[in-house]
């Protein structure tokens, strides 16, 4: 090749066309439903994080005289629970634990599952078989059953719930990761990269990871809604958070008998779980549409 001599060529400041992620980002921002969901989730998150600064009542402080007040009672905008504690405070503080137990397992499963799945997908062969057959054994159990069985075995508690749910979700994410990685592995540009002499790590880093993480991430986001329901479900059964901690699933449990006295207060924690779950589902769908090249 001739040595570069054309200074005009060297100085050419080519305009950077829009990157893939920037295009995806713009598409999502234009999607009103996704933006609304993101906004609601942001509110809930911020409220949970900044709960101590919101001048709320003490979520642990109850009084038997004030139990099960209705929604709209002065000083108790959302009523009180069966032990007289302020519902608004319990719901906002409850968000901290509920969101933690719901989201952390998915994050952990994402890291572990992506690692396992991408390696299985790229390397193939016996390693792939070993990993995927192990995943198949876990798939033989319905997720609810597995989560409850593991929680039942480990005992109640926040950490145990997180461990249990992580174990339930790792196989699912591994499967998705392996499938997507295998699809990318067969693309011509990976062959071209191999043809240029790059080693496996370089190829995985430059060519595969960027093309694979997006799909796994979308799947994981959808998984959060399941996780929120399952995590709260564990607490609902008494296998998760222990009283007197505020947590939406546990609150549903303790308020069950209250449905005869003050049904709407009893239903409130479920509304929160529902809201978070549906927002994550809609957001996940929106991301999937935005990432679809065909649009």
């Amino acid at each position: 090749m001739t040595v570069m001599t054309d200074t005009a060529l060297q100085a050419a400041p080519a305009t950077k066309a829009r990157g893939y992620w920037a295009t995806v980002g713009r598409r999502i921002v234009r999607d009103k439903v996704s933006m609304a969901c993101a906004f609601i989730l942001l509110l809930i998150f911020l409220a949970a994080i900044f709960a101590p600064y919101l001048h709320l009542a003490d979520p642990y402080q109850g009084s038997m005289i004030r139990r099960l007040r209705a929604i709209g009672t002065p000083n108790y905008p959302l009523g009180t629970d069966e032990l007289g504690r302020d519902m608004l405070a319990r719901l906002i503080y409850g968000g901290r634990l509920s969101l933690l137990i719901g989201i952390l397992p998915v994050i952990l499963a994402f890291i572990i599952g992506t690692g396992l799945g991408v390696v299985a997908g790229y390397v193939g062969g016996k390693l792939n078989t070993a990993i995927m057959r192990t995943v198949d054994v876990f798939y033989a159990f319905p997720s609810v059953l597995l989560a409850i069985a593991i929680s039942g075995a480990l005992g109640a508690g926040i950490v145990n719930s997180i461990v249990s749910l992580t174990i339930v979700f790792v196989p699912q994410i591994t499967r998705v990761a392996e499938s997507v990685t295998t699809g990318v592995r067969n693309m011509d540009y990976v062959e071209a990269a191999r043809a240029s002499g790059a080693n496996a790590f370089t190829i995985m880093r430059v060519h595969m990871l960027g093309n694979v993480l997006g799909s796994i991430f979308v799947y994981a986001t959808g998984l959060i809604s399941v996780s929120m329901i399952l995590a709260a479900g564990l607490s609902f059964l008494g296998l998760g958070t222990k009283p007197p901690e505020p947590e939406w699933g546990l609150m549903l449990n303790t308020l069950r008998t209250a449905i005869y006295v003050n049904p709407w207060v009893a239903a409130l924690p479920g509304v929160m779980i529902f809201a978070v779950s549906i927002c994550f589902n809609l957001l996940s769908d929106g991301m999937r549409s935005a990432m679809d090249i065909r649009n």
Partner: protein, 353 residues
């Protein structure tokens, strides 16, 4: 691993060793069989995708490979590029055998490939410049130098660097993408470029432009081409010599004009006869070939074409005819009809050319 300490700023083509007389690439008895899982009640079989293929490519020439889908031409390309392991055979680049005197890393510098699917060949997440610069960086080039090289190459393939360097594959047309793929292949300064159906997916007018580009680049950089295609007209236009493949074997090879004007193997004749005639007074009326193409899993015994060959005789089903010279100009065919003294009723007598 990359043990080059200092980033280099130029990639020179591999040094010429044997001179003009030595073929740039020699392929000896290349074989690739794929096992097919039989399942519970059926025995496992093999697909004999490439079977004992041998040929040579001289420096500066363009060799074409033609054949129908499934004949093994793309598999051959991938075997030459070492993208899949072969069962047996040697690949000798300018006199040095790959795996012995020549390392795989060096081979990558000497030989590159342009793929058929222009879109699937480019990472959708990388800019065009980044895609082209990837190869040189793997071989030790500094990032800035690699990018400059990428822009220079874009200019050579007819794309303005200011416009195209920072675009993404989905933002350019099919023909432009193939030019990018060509630029990417040239980034490592190879002497041999394999073009695997590189223009097949393009519109005719774009195809013509890219073909002319390939011819120009060959002249400018002194390249040697291996051009794989199913389009007989394109192969005639661009090749010096041609190989005809059928079911994993080479059935005929020779200078392209000689083979096109005087095909020796019945399959080649059928292929050429199958091209629709554009002369209304000379319409193609009878289908030149009948019967279904056999399955590469269990090819027929002896000559693989004999089940569809109108001239087949008993000997054709018994032993496979070997590729034999039939003219002094290097025209070879694997057909008993063309091999003097073979015993076929239509074969010329031994000693007669």
């Amino acid at each position: 691993m990359n043990d080059i300490v200092e980033p280099i700023d130029k990639l020179e083509p591999l040094k010429d060793i044997g001179g003009v007389a030595q073929p740039l690439l020699q392929v000896v008895s290349l074989t690739k069989h794929f096992p097919v899982r039989g399942g519970l009640f059926a025995p496992s079989k093999t697909v004999r995708a490439v079977d004992d293929v041998s040929f040579a490519i001289s420096k500066g020439e363009t060799v074409g490979i033609v054949g129908e889908s499934g004949c093994g031409k793309s598999t051959t390309a991938r075997l030459l590029m070492h993208l899949m392991p072969r069962n047996s055979g040697d690949i000798i680049y300018d006199g040095r055998t790959v795996g012995r005197e020549l390392s795989l890393r060096e081979l990558r510098r000497g030989m590159q490939m342009v793929f058929q699917d222009s879109y699937a060949s480019l990472n959708p997440r990388l800019t065009i410049e980044e895609s082209i610069a990837f190869g040189p960086k793997v071989h030790g080039m500094a990032d800035k130098a690699a990018r400059l090289l990428a822009r220079e190459l874009l200019g050579k393939v007819g794309l303005r660097p200011e416009t195209f360097a920072n675009r993404y594959p989905h933002e350019v047309s099919g023909g432009q993408r193939q030019r990018v793929n060509i630029a990417r292949a040239l980034a490592l300064s190879p002497r041999l470029v394999i073009l695997d159906e590189a223009v097949s997916a393009l519109d005719k007018s774009v195809e013509a432009q890219v073909l002319n580009l390939l011819v120009d680049l060959k002249r400018e950089f002194g390249l040697t081409y291996l051009f794989i295609s199913h389009d007989l007209n394109v192969v005639r236009y661009i090749s010096d010599r041609v190989l005809v493949m059928y079911l994993g074997e080479v059935v005929e090879l020779g200078p392209v004009d000689e083979v096109w004007d005087g095909p020796a193997h019945p399959y080649t004749r059928a292929l050429l006869a199958a091209m629709p005639s554009s002369d209304p007074d000379n319409r193609t009326e009878t289908p030149p070939i009948t019967g279904d193409p056999p399955n590469p899993i269990d090819p027929p015994s002896g000559c693989r074409f004999h089940t569809r060959c109108p001239f087949a005789e008993a000997m054709c089903g018994e032993a496979t005819p070997k590729l034999t010279e039939i003219t002094v100009t290097g025209h070879q065919a694997a057909c008993y009809m063309a091999i003097p003294g073979s015993g076929h009723s239509k074969a010329p007598a031994a000693g007669v050319q």
